[in-house]
Amino acid sequence: MRMRTKITHPSVLMKLGHTLERLHKQWIFHLTPDRLHFTVSKADFQTGVQVWAQLSTDTLFEDYRIESASDNHIWLEVNGDHLLRALKSGSKSVQMIMRLSKKEGLPVLSFTITNQSRTGKLVILVQDVPVRVISPEKTEEFREPVAPEPDVHILMPPILTLRTIAERMKSISQRLILSANMGGQLTMSVSNDIVKVQTFFNDLINPQLDPTQVDVATHPSTGRSRTEFAEAEVDIRDFIKFVQCYQLHPSKILCCINERHCLIFYVVVGDDDDGDKLDDRFGSLTYRIPLRAR
């Protein structure tokens, strides 16, 4: 099992780290020849927010080499704080190299960071982050489950607007009701004994389904009346965890409401195309927020 690469964009990894930090401290790293997958290690995703992120290795790495007995895939568990600290040391570096190695018999992600001092001298810093290698047969629980077919799917309004509103709504109630229809409308609503607050968004886009991926004719959102809302009640703190992805400057966020199972946000980064197609070549994050009973 070998892995060595130059990290060209430590800041992107760092932002991703800050986004995940709120969810859990232990992260699962899944490296493949063309993708870097991240998830947080939490056994039961019914009780909390789960996230799966994937970034293209081309945008993050250079001179990337990976080899392993299991189809060149490597699964690692790492402490988020430790990893973030290493990435922070490398945020202004001239060069940052990450490799999987062993120190005193224990596996580590070893970061060799070259910084330039004010006088122009190169300072080399080595930071080792202990990791646990996950054997291929134990990776099943960390794989992204198949998302249930949404009743309604809609592109979200700008994330910064959502963030401000969600922060205010948090002081009103712990429960947020998010509802949307196939007619471009989305509502966020909270209430307590004395006040009811509802924010209405109009003219949003309901992207077309990709016929190569799903059977459009039988999809629940196809036969639905445009004005009929699907509703999801979630813990507002869970929603705020999702909103943290603003740090990655997402270009598009697709919201999928499944009234029986969960609320899914599909966050696309690095896709500047204005169309309603979602291009996740650069990277994406999937947030799965459990529903709360009323």
């Binding site: 205010r168 509802s179 409308q185 004395i194 006040v195």
Partner: protein
């Protein structure tokens, strides 16, 4: 007058027809939610939808309930003024011919009033388009913290004035903040309240995004109007000064002090603020210089003590203000009026009245 009940009933049906149609559309739009049609549409129709739709019977006629309606181009001045008096959870709100007034009070010792003059509003009327008569008044109690949360749902632009002002009496950033808020695209507000009492409805609009808030109100509890009590006795001293000078004094005073003494006299020391706390005593004298005291008049020297905790509520308003008027009456009641610059060269005032500590001698 005898009215055929059948005819009255059908008139009732006709009158409500328009609203019934709206209601069904609304139900179709989404599981009992109020969905404003065609946002950004005319606010008035939305306000009607959000308000309870009942017909009241007055005398022999059925009439639609009348609402008070007011709208603001920018919610920022409202937020600023509310913040100035938000030292208690609840406040009294009075809607009258002159404008909207909020009164907050604590321990029957300090009372604050903030005014939103009618001139600030784009609309200020009854829902049937008639203006408020001079003797018409609506009053109720409202949770001003919740109201504040609602008004700042779109966040951002209102935040600036508050961050510098509340706890820091220097409040250097307080004055330019509302001006900065005015330059950003403002969040507009439409407010409505049923004449018969009920929920306060707010519709805030930021671009094409609309937020509707329905806020419960409480019945007014009778309170003594301390401002009237102050006016009952002759005023013995009046001072107008730049708020900065007063902010300096409050910054200087040890916050462990339990009370503060205000001495005003026609000759030296003119105006003296003194307090003593755990860290020691402080005493500030202001010279009778027009640079400092823009206007000074004192007929009888006075020396009064006030509870520091009762002066604390004023600090937010002081921090936001540019000028302060201080008045003391014969029995030592202190009145402070803070001039606050709102957005777009609008000025408003926040009035405080504080009762003195009775000296046991």
């Amino acid at each position: 007058m005898a009215v055929d009940p059948q005819a009255a009933h059908s008139a009732h049906d006709n009158g409500l027809l328009a609203y019934a149609a709206q209601g069904s559309q609304q139900a179709a739009a989404g599981q009992g939610m109020h969905w404003p049609r065609g946002v950004p549409a005319d606010f008035a129709s939305q306000a009607m939808m959000a308000a309870p739709m009942q017909a009241h019977r007055t005398g022999d006629e059925y009439m639609l309930p009348l609402d008070f309606v007011a709208s603001l181009r920018s919610v920022a001045p409202f937020v600023t003024l509310l913040r100035a008096i938000s030292f208690k959870q609840r406040a009294y709100c009075t809607i009258a011919y002159e404008g909207i007034r909020f009164t907050a009070e604590d321990s029957r010792t300090v009372q604050a009033k903030a005014y939103l003059p009618k001139s600030l509003f784009r609309e200020f009327r009854w829902s049937d388009n008639t203006p408020l008569a001079e003797d018409e008044e609506l009053s109720f109690m409202v949770d001003i913290r919740m109201l504040g949360e609602c008004l700042t749902i779109f966040g951002g632009q209102q935040q600036s004035s508050g961050s510098a002002a509340p706890d820091d009496p220097h409040g250097a950033a307080a004055a330019p903040a509302p001006a900065a808020a005015a330059s950003a695209s403002p969040v507009s507000l439409q407010l409505s309240y049923p004449k018969a009492g009920g929920e306060l409805t707010l519709l805030l609009q930021d671009g094409s995004v609309v937020t509707a808030c329905n806020l419960s109100t409480y019945d007014n509890e009778p309170i003594t109007d301390l401002h009237a009590v102050f006016g009952d006795r002759p005023i013995i001293s009046k001072i107008i000064m730049k708020s900065d000078w007063l902010k300096t004094a409050f910054a200087e005073i040890d916050d462990t002090s339990s009370d503060l003494t205000l001495t005003i006299a026609p000759q030296h020391p003119f105006l003296r603020i003194s307090a003593s706390g755990l860290a020691g005593e402080s005493e500030l004298d202001y010279p009778r210089d027009t640079e400092v005291l823009e206007s000074f008049s004192c007929t009888v020297p006075s020396r009064n003590k006030y509870k520091f905790s009762m002066l604390n509520p004023c600090l937010k308003a002081l921090g936001m203000s540019t000028k302060t008027s201080i008045r003391v009456n014969e029995i030592g009641i202190l009145s402070m009026q803070f001039m606050i610059h709102l957005a777009a060269s609008q000025i408003s005032f926040v009035d405080y009245v504080v009762l003195p500590i009775e000296e046991a001698n």
